[in-house]
């Protein structure tokens, strides 16, 4: 009798966990190993930049409940460092090797570090990705800093800045783009959201960059900006986005780069020649795949619901119970920025038009619908999430843009404007 097949999941985050559960649920009964670079069992990240920083829950209280039996071999605290596909081996950073017959790549991302490592090591300078990061930053905020500097106006930057305001801390947000969230939502909608944050007391500095961070005695004291201004701050949060963890795949012969590891429509990873490796699938932030809703455009999505759905898909695939259809869930995400809840459905990338279809940005509650070549491609709700499902349907069906129909609080004469993607 042949030895049972072995499965290895590299990555012990949300996608790794849900993928492992799906493997088991789909009938895979062989040995199962989960490799995690951090010493923690899988935990939930969204609360880290919200409830944990607010002090409402402890960082360690974010551990995810899971449905795995005790027979799972958890290899936590040692990241994977290499992949030998010919031998069917995952190599760990401490030199050990794990043989696999089926492999799920779910190594996710890490925070993009401050480019100057010396400045990045100053006491008071933080990134926010893992739960240890959140615990350390919470401690720093609790100590009552004079001012918090947030570098980067993406979702994490906006969440941290608004949270500081709700803690009563002075906060400055520096964003090189024209508005916060300009890269994801465009500067038109970004300006509306920026105005809401400014109204809550966030000192917003757009169109400039932090040039260097100055320390005294190893502690951050101020930041120097490209416009010559200085920001006195003893805490800085580097929120410059994420880097995908693909270095460990160097030399494995896969089509992988800092933008992710490529998958085919089914979910199998592709080698450098573009052939699928039927023993390996990828899921979550690290997986770049052709999205069927977007003409097969290759995307890697850093969204919670996507990590779950794609991991379940990949787990079934590897268990030999492939789902009927290619993975293509409508991308959705949410971001809680102080009292403000931003939710979205679809992909704004490449949109050539945007319209406010409900509400009024001046009131802080509205829906923005994005169009591309005459079709609805994304919808973003700001404090109006109840109307998002109706808009998500327009996006999922590729309804014509500008939309027909009506809404109870649609502005008279829907104005179409440039979304403002640079």
């Amino acid at each position: 009798m042949a030895a049972p097949e072995r499965a290895v999941v590299v990555g012990a985050g949300l996608a790794g966990l849900r993928g492992a559960e799906a493997l088991r649920e789909a009938g895979f009964s062989g040995p199962l190993t989960i490799v995690g670079g951090e010493p923690h069992l899988p935990y939930d990240r969204p609360p880290l930049s919200k409830h944990v920083l607010a002090g409402a829950i402890a960082a360690h209280a974010t551990t995810l409940p899971h449905g795995l039996e005790a027979d799972v071999d958890w290899q936590l605290g040692t990241p994977a460092a290499g992949l030998d596909r010919r031998a069917g081996l995952v190599r760990l950073a401490d030199g050990r090797t794990l043989p696999y017959d089926r492999l799920l790549i779910a190594t996710g991302t890490r925070a993009r570090p401050w480019p100057n490592p010396h400045e990045g090591r100053l006491s008071g300078v933080f990134t926010l990705r893992g739960r240890d990061d959140a615990a350390a930053l919470r401690q720093a905020l609790e100590a009552g800093p004079r001012r918090v500097l947030v570098i980067g106006g993406g979702f994490i930057g906006c969440e941290v800045a608004s949270l500081c305001r709700s803690l009563g801390l002075p906060v400055t947000l520096v964003e090189p783009g024209p508005t916060p969230l300009a890269r994801v939502l465009g500067s038109a909608i970004g300006a509306f959201i920026g105005a809401i944050h400014a109204g809550h007391g966030v000192d917003l500095r757009c169109g400039i960059e932090v040039e260097w961070l100055e320390g005294e005695g190893g502690r951050l004291v101020r930041a120097h900006c490209t416009d010559g201004s200085r920001i006195e701050a003893d805490v800085a949060v580097i929120a410059l986005g994420a880097v995908r963890n693909t270095e460990w795949l160097d030399g494995a012969g896969l089509s992988a780069d800092p933008g992710g590891v490529d998958c085919d429509g089914a979910g199998y990873v592709l080698d450098a020649e573009g052939h699928a490796d039927p023993r390996i699938a990828a899921a979550g932030d690290v997986a770049r795949f052709p999205h069927p809703l977007y003409d097969g455009r290759r995307v890697a999505l850093e969204h919670w619901s996507h990590a779950v759905a794609q991991a379940v898909h990949a787990g079934r695939l590897l268990a030999g119970a492939p789902p009927d259809a290619a993975y293509g869930a409508l991308p959705t995400f949410w971001s809680t920025q102080g009292n403000l809840v931003v939710k979205s459905a679809g992909l704004t990338e490449g949109a050539d038009a945007v319209a406010i279809t409900q509400g009024n940005p001046a009131s802080g509650r509205f829906i923005a619908l994005y169009g591309r070549a005459g079709r609805c491609v994304a919808a973003v709700s700001v404090d109006s999430a109840r109307w998002l499902p109706a808009h998500a349907e327009l996006v999922a069906t590729g309804a014509p843009f500008p939309p027909e129909g009506a809404a109870t609080d649609r502005p008279k004469g829907v104005e179409i404007f440039e979304p403002g993607f640079s």
Binding site: T357, A390, A406, T408
Partner: protein
Amino acid sequence: MPDSSLLDQVKDFANRPNPYPIYAKLRQNPVSRQDDGTEAGTWVASTHGTIARLLQDPRVSSETLPPADRPRTGNPLTDLIVKPLKDWMMDRHRVFIFRDPPDHDALRSAVMHQFSQERVQAMRARSDKLVADLLDGKRDAREIDAVDDLAYPLPVTVICELFGVPREDEPKFHGWATQLATALEPDSLFDPEIRAKNSRTFDAIGGYMGDLIKEKRKHPQDDMLSGLANHATPAGVKMGDYDLIATSILMLVAGHETTVNLITNGLLTLLRHPDELERLRQDPMRAPRLIEELLRYEPPVQFRTRRTLAAIDIAGVTIPEGADLVLLLAAGNRDESVFPDPDRFDPDRTGTRHLGFGGSLHYCVGAPLARFEAEAALTALARRLKAPRLIADPPPYRQGAALRGPENLRVAIDGIV
């Protein structure tokens, strides 16, 4: 071809005791056009899925009231100047269940801001005491009317105390509330006689509330009306006098006319399911789940009306633009695809998503009050009524098809402990 007379059967008073078989027929077509005497007809959604979807559809408006049109008096000054002005004011300051965002949202947020956790908790303790007093007053009785003796006075006192309406004025509201509640019955919206009565009633209660608001400005107390009259929300919403009058009338009427049905339907259902009555008597902790099941099984508000602002494709039909809609909440609550064995009263159901409080932006503001008032009343009735027996089953019903409930509920007892 779906039967288009089913909505008429729902409205038919003869079917008031048990409309559920008609709802089951309606569910065979999740959304169907029903005859209402007009060419356009009324479109009825009767399954859980279609109702939930339409509640969250931005093309569905709650502005279903026809324009105000007071009866003429024959006095030219009144008819030509005062009446149009009053009609205009009435239209501009409708109660927020008949309004859409953004106005609805602002008015509702002001109410929610005053509807604080502390106030709700205080009224919760208070309602236990009120129930005890009401039942103590009937200690020697051998028969009670659950409506007059408990289900009506309890919510009235709760809402009046919450709003700061003086106790001696409570009786005035009885007639006013009953009259104004007819505005939720679709047919009454277009009946000139009922509308004239409603206008007069609105003027009377509006005059009363206007005076009371002045009083609350002069001498603010710790009640919701004082709060609404004197303070803005953190977002800066503060109602003008006309909206404040309309909103407080809405709250007082809603507080009078809905919870009474929840309590009465609750006792009726328990008397029809004696094993559940006994279980509640032995274990009052069962009350919350029992009340959720009641809200599914016999919801006090059976349906609400809406209007479409654009054509809507749903469940294989197209509802045209400008159509009258009925969201048949009570039918969605018996949808077998969501609630297995839907006609069974079963408080041990799990994961119910009933539509008893509606949903989405118009979700019942008073839901917490309704829940704890029903809990206070039903647990006390279960514990204290000795050998309760229904005198008439079905009991006589009130007129309304939307706000549906017994006119009275006579129960023979061997005493009250």
